[in-house]
């Protein structure tokens, strides 16, 4: 099972928590990691049926915690109000293999096989052996009996007493062909369920031997005990490996959904001719089966690798087949095909080895809604909304891939509609070898309302906080989401930082979001947003230059309506266009509407005849304009460092509607390049590459330019080392920046240089605020910094004054 949890509010990458769903905790992890292979009767000279019984396909995880615990833990650690639980379930696949007896029917034919008959039983026993082993487990805690024999003598299995419980202290494997003892690292070791230190009865040991004999790996296998002085038993399993003709071709086919070939009962009294006939039929059947089978996903390089293994080996041995099986299965596991299994090797004793794989073909995709108690209900969300988020690789006809499942989880989570999302592949009972992908969703409440309060300390007189400057503030939010089941939503919020004086800074927002504007069946993804808003900002235009910091501030209040359409090309690239209607009010420190900026006179007085704050000259402007923004972002993360390009172009086009009929074209273009300076190997824990960031920003305006829309230079997102607007405010600006990032011990240090220039257009802003507030109009800075988690600590030298200072800032500059 794969589970993930992420808070709804943030788009953090989904973290994976793994836990096996197995209910057999007594299995050693070693057992889990390598599926138990059970082989039917191997008497058939042409064909070996390798039955793979994956006890649990959760080789992804070794975490023994049961899932319920895990979720509980998660809930504890997150401890948030809203969480989304994402679960990708990979439940038990207790073998899709039905017709285990297919080759069993061939038992009795003397061929390469060693042991005789009873193949079916052997297989099934092998299949169920995990449970048997499980049942054995408690016995290890029990008392055991001494063998009661003289020490250091070899005892045959059938000489052991049926009433005693023997403690097995050691287990050896003896390869008769190689005439040596093989270690526990041998691939055969995993075939044996006996474990040193456990207690077994004679019957259990016999069963074990029988199982080994029937698994098809061995031509011959024996078990004998050696008595130890302390009453325990040392067990030696001696075996001869099965081998077949050498092969020089390899083929891999997908036999999923084909069903197993039906066993044909063979009459033991058949004549030789009949036997031959039967044999031919079987061969023909197999050929037909191979033709019918679809090609598998196994890529040519891996097939070549396997072929190389075959050629090197010469004779095809059981060990080799085991290795091939492991190699093939490893590839499937590594690529995320969690349901894929090698079920059979056919065509043995010919030139070609055929590897039969059940890949896990999806036969059905189910989207189910659950209520809080987990009952299946009719969901409010329209199925199509979920469906369009699913990668097509989860649709019937594709092979189930865990990565596609994860992608589905992420995509569905980004809808923000569900509190719990499970992607759960399960075997299709009706369609053998098929997989049904179940997506279980728990919907969030449609209507939510939230009130949050906070206290804030505001700077008092002289910039120092005082007790009296403690302010109560808060936010009231309501949301009605997923209207009509189409993810439409209405959101409203009111925020104030001061309940004593809410009219001071009351911020409100009312937004209606209408996704799938072109219809939910249309792949084009456009979203309509209509919102009412207000905002209040300190204008950086009214900022003093160096050594002139006593500029009376001007607040710019905006309130209005906006309607825009966002076309999402994909997650990062979007194109937005719409209409904005707003009223802009400029206010002075005392919150009075003002029409001109103030300035401090050289003699010390303050005059009100600074640059005009609005276009209309009254302190209140109303305007309607078109706004359009296109963002191209192909950045990606290389070992945690951003690499790629980002371009942004924005145009505000005045329509001549509003105070003084504002007609303007205000545009800005931002180009940012993150150049990777060195090729690095990608992977978790690998060091990120050094990166050179180049950044340019041009802003310009033709036509009516109210002062609050003038482009300002200086500030943490413009030219570092200066205050906001300290360099100037102009009609056209150009900013250039370069930053070199060198990774150091899990973080990075950087050096940068930036320049901002008004291109001589400060005078083209009415009132020339750059000159009035004694600013230079251009400025450079350079500095070095280090990234400490989310904080950037940097030392910047401001080139205009030549003085350096240290800054701590949150977030990224670019």
């Amino acid at each position: 099972m794969f589970g993930a949890a992420a808070p709804t509010t943030c788009h953090s990458p989904i973290t994976a928590f793994c836990s096996p769903i197995t209910t057999l905790p007594s299995f050693s992890s070693r057992k889990l990691a390598s599926p138990v292979a059970a082989v039917g009767v191997t008497n058939n000279p042409r064909r070996l049926t390798l039955k793979c019984c994956r006890v649990s396909s959760s080789t992804l995880s070794q975490n023994p915690k049961p899932p319920s615990n895990l979720l509980k833990n998660l809930a504890k650690t997150i401890a948030g109000a809203t969480t989304v639980t994402l679960i990708l379930n990979l439940s038990n696949f207790p073998a899709f293999i039905g017709g285990g007896g297919s080759s069993g029917g061939a038992g009795g034919f003397g061929g390469g096989g060693g042991s005789n008959g009873g193949g079916d039983g052997g297989f099934w026993r092998r299949l169920f052996r995990p449970k048997v082993a499980n049942a054995d487990e408690p016995q290890s805690q029990q008392e055991w009996d001494s063998h009661g024999l003289p020490a250091n003598i070899v005892v045959q299995l059938n000489k052991l007493s049926g009433f005693k419980k023997y403690k097995v202290s050691e287990i050896w494997f003896f390869d008769r062909r190689r005439r040596c003892t093989v270690g526990t690292d041998d691939s055969f070791f995993e075939m044996v369920s006996l474990r040193a230190g456990s207690v077994y009865t004679k019957a259990q040991l016999q069963k074990e031997l029988e199982a080994l004999a029937n698994c098809g790996m061995f031509e011959k296998v024996d078990l004998e005990g050696k008595t130890n002085p302390d009453g325990t038993l040392g067990v030696t399993i001696s075996f001869t490996e099965s081998t077949w003709q050498s092969a020089d071709k390899f083929r891999c086919i997908n036999v999923g959904l084909m069903g197993q070939s039906k066993p044909i009962e063979m009459d033991w009294d058949m004549t030789d001719k009949e036997k031959l006939e039967y044999f031919r039929n079987q061969e023909k059947d197999y050929k037909r089966r191979m033709e019918r089978a679809r090609p598998c996903l196994l890529p040519a390089p891996v097939q070549r690798e396997v072929l190389l293994m075959l050629r090197e080996q010469g004779k095809v041995s059981a060990r080799l087949l085991q290795r091939i099986r492991d190699r093939v299965q490893k590839w499937y596991q590594d690529e995320g095909y969690a349901c894929a299994q090698v079920v059979n090797f056919g065509n043995l004793n010919t030139k070609e080895v055929v590897c039969e794989v059940v890949e896990g073909d999806i036969t059905q995709l189910l989207i189910l809604f659950q209520d809080k108690l987990g009952n299946f209900v009719q969901g409010n969300t329209q199925i199509r909304v979920v469906q369009r988020e699913l990668p097509k690789q989860l649709r019937p006809g594709y092979v189930f891939n865990i990565e596609a499942g994860k992608q589905a989880l992420r995509n569905i989570n980004s809808l923000g509609l569900f509190s719990n999302i499970e992607v759960n592949p399960r075997p299709d009972e009706k369609n053998e070898g098929g997989i049904i992908v179940e997506i279980k969703l728990k919907e969030l409440e449609q209507k939510t309302a939230e009130v949050s309060t906070q206290w804030s300390i505001v700077p008092g007189h002289g910039g120092y906080p005082t007790l009296a400057s403690l302010q109560p503030g808060g936010t009231v939010t309501f949301e009605h989401r997923n209207l009509n089941g189409l993810n439409r939503s209405i959101l409203g919020s009111v925020t104030t930082s001061n309940f004593y004086n809410p009219h001071d800074d009351l911020a409100f927002k009312l937004e209606y979001v209408h996704p799938y504007l072109d219809g939910v069946y249309n792949p084009r993804d456009r979203t309509l947003r209509v919102s009412c808003f207000n905002s209040r900002k300190l204008s950086p235009v009214f900022t003093g230059g160096p050594g002139d910091d006593e500029v009376p501030p001007i607040w710019v209040d905006r309130a209005g309506m906006k309607a825009n359409i966002t076309e999402n090309f994909n997650r990062q690239n979007k194109f937005t266009y719409g209409l904005v209607m707003e009223e802009i009010t400029t206010r002075d420190e005392r919150n009075h509407i003002c029409s001109n900026g103030q300035r401090v006179l050289p003699i010390g007085g303050v005059s009100d005849d600074g640059p005009p704050t609005t276009l209309s000259g009254t302190g209140i402007d109303r305007m309607v304009f078109l706004q359009s923004n296109i963002t191209r972002d192909n950045t990606k993360f290389v070992n945690g460092t951003i690499v790629g390009e980002r371009n942004m172009f924005q145009v505000d086009q005045g329509l001549g509607v509003g105070s003084k009929f504002p007609f303007f074209n205000r545009h800005q273009l931002t180009l940012t390049r993150f150049l990777q300076l060195k090729e690095v190997e990608e992977g978790a824990g690998k060091p990120p590459p050094p990166v050179l960031v180049l950044h340019g920003h041009y802003g310009g305006c033709v036509g009516d330019l109210p002062i609050y829309d003038a482009f300002t230079l200086g500030g943490p997102y413009s030219v570092r080392g200066y205050n906001m607007g300290e360099i100037g405010a102009a009609r056209h600006i150009l900013e250039l920046a370069a930053e070199l990032r060198i990774p150091v011990k899990g973080t990075h240090v950087y050096a940068f240089a930036e320049h901002g220039n008004d291109l001589g257009t400060s005078k083209d802003v009415k009132g020339n605020p750059t000159e009035v507030y004694r600013r230079v109009g251009h400025g450079s800075s350079y500095g070095v910094g280090v990234k400490l988690g989310l904080v950037r600590a940097e030392y910047v030298v401001d080139h205009n004054s030549g003085s350096g200072s240290v800054f701590f800032r949150f977030g990224e500059r670019f």
């Binding site: 990565e403 005059s607 005849d609 172009f649 007609f663 083209d764």
Partner: protein, 310 residues
């Protein structure tokens, strides 16, 4: 202010007879050229003797002068008429306050001058100041920014406190020429005039001595140390400038506010918008499309073509 009563120019009578004759002769000359009114704008730094010069030219105490205080921030127009000829002299407050150009004073002057025609600018400074600094340039720049470069074709540089004995035994004429040369250079730089422009119409320099202890010649005229009677000389230079052919400056709203940057190239906006759409937005959109096409997909997405049917 505008509706100020135009008084008879009585002050002319206080001049020496020789000066009176000369002045009337000059005014008559102007009358002949169909010029029957003359507006003189007096500007300069604070405390250089602008108001005193105005008073000296009018011949009466028309504007109050205070030796140690700034004159306030208002401009004053003194109008006198004589024989159908009107003389307007506009006295302005000092433009420098605390080491900076006083923008407020400048704005006041601007609004005072609205809808008036300036025939002559008298840029006043002291003769006995030895150094020319940035501040002079700033003042000149402020004047230029307000009225345009053309004002300097109608300008006179007036040097007050002309009755002095030059330091280091320098000859008076040499001192005067050096001082005026330095000041003219500052004016040229401040006004942003090119050398040829400045050469073509050299700004005349006149000397003024407003003190009551000013030396007088045998005709009781106020004379400078070099022997020139300065009042007739000033008026004569003004007349020459007026008759020099250049245009007088009419101060209208547009001149005061300067060119409106908001109106510039406004007609280009539709074209700009179209260009932006086709040459910026569209290429970015194309780039996005090609990015998406080139995007490296995980192998599992590529491998499985899903061609199976059930």
């Amino acid at each position: 202010m505008a509706s100020q009563i135009i008084r008879e120019w009585l002050g002319i009578n206080s001049f020496a007879p020789a000066t009176q004759t000369k002045l009337l002769e000059l005014l008559g000359k102007l009358n002949q050229e169909n010029v029957n009114s003359l507006t003189i704008l007096v500007m300069g730094k604070g405390g250089v003797g602008k108001s005193s010069t105005v008073n000296s030219l009018i011949g009466e105490r028309a504007v109050s002068i205070s030796p140690f205080q700034s004159e306030g921030t208002r401009a004053v127009m003194v109008s006198r008429s004589r024989a159908g000829f009107t003389l307007n002299i506009i006295d302005t407050p000092g433009l420098i306050e605390g080491g900076y150009v006083n923008d407020m004073a400048l704005n006041n002057i601007k609004s005072f001058l609205l809808n008036k025609t300036i025939d002559v600018l008298l840029y006043v400074d002291r003769l006995d100041a030895y150094r020319v600094d940035n501040l002079d340039r700033e003042v000149v720049k402020a004047i230029t920014d307000t009225f345009g470069k053309g004002i300097w074709n109608r300008a006179l540089v007036v040097l007050t406190h002309a009755q002095l004995s030059p330091p280091d035994g320098l000859p008076y004429d040499e001192f005067v020429s050096k001082r005026s040369e330095a000041l003219l250079k500052a004016v040229r730089l401040g006004a942003g005039l090119r050398r040829q422009e400045a050469q073509g119409s050299a700004i005349p320099v006149v000397l003024v001595e407003n003190s009551g202890r000013c030396n007088k010649n045998e005709k009781d005229e106020k004379v400078l140390p070099n022997g020139t009677a300065w009042i007739p000389h000033v008026v004569q230079t003004i007349t020459e400038v007026i008759l020099g052919g250049s245009k007088s400056i009419f101060v209208d709203q547009k001149l005061i506010e300067g060119p409106n940057p908001n109106a510039r190239r406004k007609f280009l906006i539709p074209i700009i918008l179209v260009l932006q759409y086709f040459f910026v937005v569209k290429p970015i959109e194309r780039q996005i499309k090609s990015d998406i096409a080139r995007e490296s997909r995980p192998s599992w997405e590529m491998r499985d073509t899903g061609s199976r049917k059930y």
